[in-house]
């Protein structure tokens, strides 16, 4: 019963039958009432004519004996002796009530009409079921055409329903013919008004899915492309290690290079994972955090790098900076900004981080003394795998892409500007967390 077509057909037929039943019942009752009056009139006429006539003519006796109407005529003398009976009906009472009466004998009800003259009593009777049968037959005749066209109507209804549902069937075929690759919108032309919104909603969903799929494909393609360089380096470094043979100095240098190559590949993969988690669509778990504390921890991890470069890495926080967000993502954001600042600044330079709250809105600022980023380039550097001009730092090209992704997921903005230290100033501003007045 899940088919719309079957359901519609069943209901259509049920309504048709109900209509036939109501129609039949109405005509039955009206015909019954009419025949009652007619037969009563007939009974009365027959009795009165018998009274006036005195005798029963032979042709009349024939009519009286008509099986179809089942009339029974009885005549008694006034002392109660039966002098005539058209058919002997012992069930009928020997006494008659004058005028119309319903007489019940056994399980049969009789309609009787009796009239009295000076010398005798005349009673004409007829069984009720005869009347009902005639009424029912008439009613049936009036309903019969309706019942006869019912199958035809059902057939016609089925055809109409199938025709009306054709767009749905076509839509189903269209959807079924698809695979995971074909996310083109469904055809929306010539659709009934009831189905069009469904198709529009489906098309909107398909467009969303297509966008997400494209983004993921682009990400995977980019990632695969970017992994080629570290892998090429690794292969060459392995070759050098083999080439070094028993030359200890050459082996040591080759192992050192290979180690750097592996570190670089590992870092790229790690950054890719961080970015994949920060991409829109990934699950985000937020918790109340202190941005100042988070920044302190992120910087602690970078101290080895800072001291190796002789850089002066500092954090300025005037107190707790409450923020609701994703701990892993925000840590990656702070670490990537500080890491970039350290790597792109000349050795021994200052890198300053500041965190604070302004009217309930947390902010983070990173200043470095590196080459900065030209104003025209500032939009580009947030894209994946875009590195600045040639430099010796083997960056993954993902740092700022991660920063942007994490910031966007937190509703924060990232702005690039010139730093008073001579390099780049990155400012991240989160939306206000203060309760609205």
């Amino acid at each position: 019963m899940n088919s719309l077509r079957t359901r519609l057909l069943v209901w259509l037929l049920a309504l048709l039958l109900l209509a036939a039943a109501v129609f039949g019942w109405a005509s039955y009752t009206s015909v019954l009432a009419e025949t009652e009056a007619l037969f009563d009139y007939q009974l009365r006429q027959m009795a009165l004519s018998l009274r006036d006539q005195g005798e029963i003519a032979p042709d009349q006796a024939g009519a009286l004996a008509d099986e179809q109407f089942d009339f029974v005529v009885q005549i008694w003398t006034e002392d109660g002796r039966s002098i005539y009976a058209s058919r002997p009906h012992p069930e009928l009472p020997a006494r008659a009530l004058l005028g119309f009466a319903d007489v019940r004998v056994g399980d049969l009800t009789w309609r009787t009409f009796s009239v009295a003259t000076r010398a005798r009593v005349i009673q004409v009777a007829q069984p009720q079921p005869v009347r009902r049968r005639l009424a029912a037959a008439t009613a049936l005749r009036s309903v019969a055409p309706l019942l006869m066209v019912a199958p035809l109507l059902a057939l016609l209804g089925g055809w109409v329903v199938a025709r009306a549902l054709r767009p749905l069937r076509r839509l189903a075929l269209d959807v079924r013919a698809r695979d995971a690759q074909s996310l083109a919108p469904l055809r929306a032309d010539a659709l009934p008004d009831e189905v069009a919104p469904l198709v529009a909603a489906l098309n909107a969903l398909l467009a969303l899915l297509g966008g997400a799929l494209d983004a993921q494909r682009a990400f995977v393609a980019d990632a695969a492309h970017e992994l080629r360089s570290p892998l090429t380096a690794l292969k060459l470094q392995l070759k050098l290690l083999r080439q070094a043979g028993s030359d200890e100095a050459a082996r040591g240098a080759a192992v050192e290079q290979l180690t750097q190559g592996v570190d670089r590949a590992a870092r790229l993969v790690e950054q890719l994972l961080v970015l994949a988690r920060a991409e829109p669509g990934a699950a985000l778990t937020t918790e109340p955090l202190d941005l100042a504390e988070l920044a302190r921890q992120a910087l602690a991890e970078l101290l080895p790098l800072a001291s190796a470069r002789g850089s002066d890495l500092s954090l300025h926080a005037e107190g707790a900076v409450p923020l609701h967000g994703d701990r892993a993502g925000l840590t990656a954001l702070v670490r990537n900004l500080a890491d970039n600042a350290l790597r792109y600044s000349p050795p021994g330079a200052r890198v300053e981080l500041r965190v604070g709250v302004e009217q309930g809105a947390p902010w983070l600022q990173v200043d470095d003394a590196g080459p900065g980023i030209a104003a025209a380039e500032r939009d580009k550097v947030f894209s994946r795998f875009v590195r600045g001009a040639a430099h010796d730092e083997p960056g993954s090209g993902l740092g700022l892409a991660i920063v942007r992704s994490v910031a966007q997921r937190h509703g924060a903005t990232v702005a690039l500007a010139d730093s008073p230290l001579g390099g780049l100033r990155v400012t991240v501003r989160w939306p206000s967390t203060a309760p609205r007045p």
């Binding site: 360089s229 570290p230 380096a233 470094q237 290079q257 670089r264």
Partner: protein, 224 residues
């Protein structure tokens, strides 16, 4: 061979240069398109290894400019771009070969030898001149069928001479094939290597035209 390496990735450039030097090639390494343009316009190289994704633009214009000057220096493109369209574009821009990263060094070396062979118009993989043979693939040199041990630089000098028997190569030209920029060129190093080769292959195997240069085989072409 003197090789120009155009590669912006520090690690790849570093390792590739070391590996190529290990085989006796002189390697000059530049890291952007502008430097590549400059080097190719002013100096002669036996082979160019060209990366396409450079920080200051694409590598293909460098190649096109080279071919536009009717410069036939062999060029092998080394790139991460593996799409068929990229490979076709690279070869059609004038590349002699196209190698997709990550590649095996051995394959690169083989392709470099193949490109050099084609460029020199040779069909045979083993060079022969008189009783001496040189196999660039196995880096083996024989004299009368007996293997001769050579240092990487001796091999490089011999290979340069045997590529075109009879052709004269000046001391400066030979030095070019041995030393990249920044390599300390020992004075009369070439004379020293030639001396060593004569000792190992026979005193009259390498001829000298005083003041002009060295040759193997008959001067002017052909083998003795």
């Amino acid at each position: 061979m003197r090789v120009l390496l155009v590669e912006d990735d520090r690690m790849i450039g570093d390792s590739l240069r070391s590996a190529l030097r290990g085989e006796g090639h002189a390697v000059d390494w530049v890291r952007d398109a502008q430097a590549a343009h400059g080097s190719l316009a002013t100096e002669h190289f036996d082979l160019v290894l060209l990366d396409l994704g450079l920080p200051d633009g694409d590598g293909l214009p460098v190649l096109r400019a080279l071919r536009a000057r009717r410069d036939a220096t062999p060029v092998i493109v080394l790139t991460a771009r593996d799409a068929k369209g990229d490979r076709v574009a690279g070869l059609d821009a004038g590349a002699d070969d196209y190698l997709v990263k990550p590649f095996e060094y051995d394959e690169l070396a083989a392709r470099m030898r193949a490109v050099a062979r084609r460029h020199g118009g040779r069909a045979e993989t083993v060079m022969q001149c008189g009783a001496v043979t040189l196999d660039p693939a196995t880096r083996q040199v024989t004299r009368d069928g007996q293997p001769v041990l050579l240092s990487a630089r001796e091999f490089a000098v011999l290979e340069a001479l045997m590529q075109r028997p009879g052709a004269l190569l000046s001391r400066a030209q030979l030095e070019d094939k041995l030393y990249g920029w920044g390599d300390a060129v020992e004075s009369n190093a070439v004379s020293v290597y030639v001396h060593q080769l004569r000792r190992k292959l026979g005193a009259d195997f390498i001829g000298t035209v005083r003041g002009v240069g060295y040759y193997v085989g008959r001067p002017g072409g052909g083998t003795p």
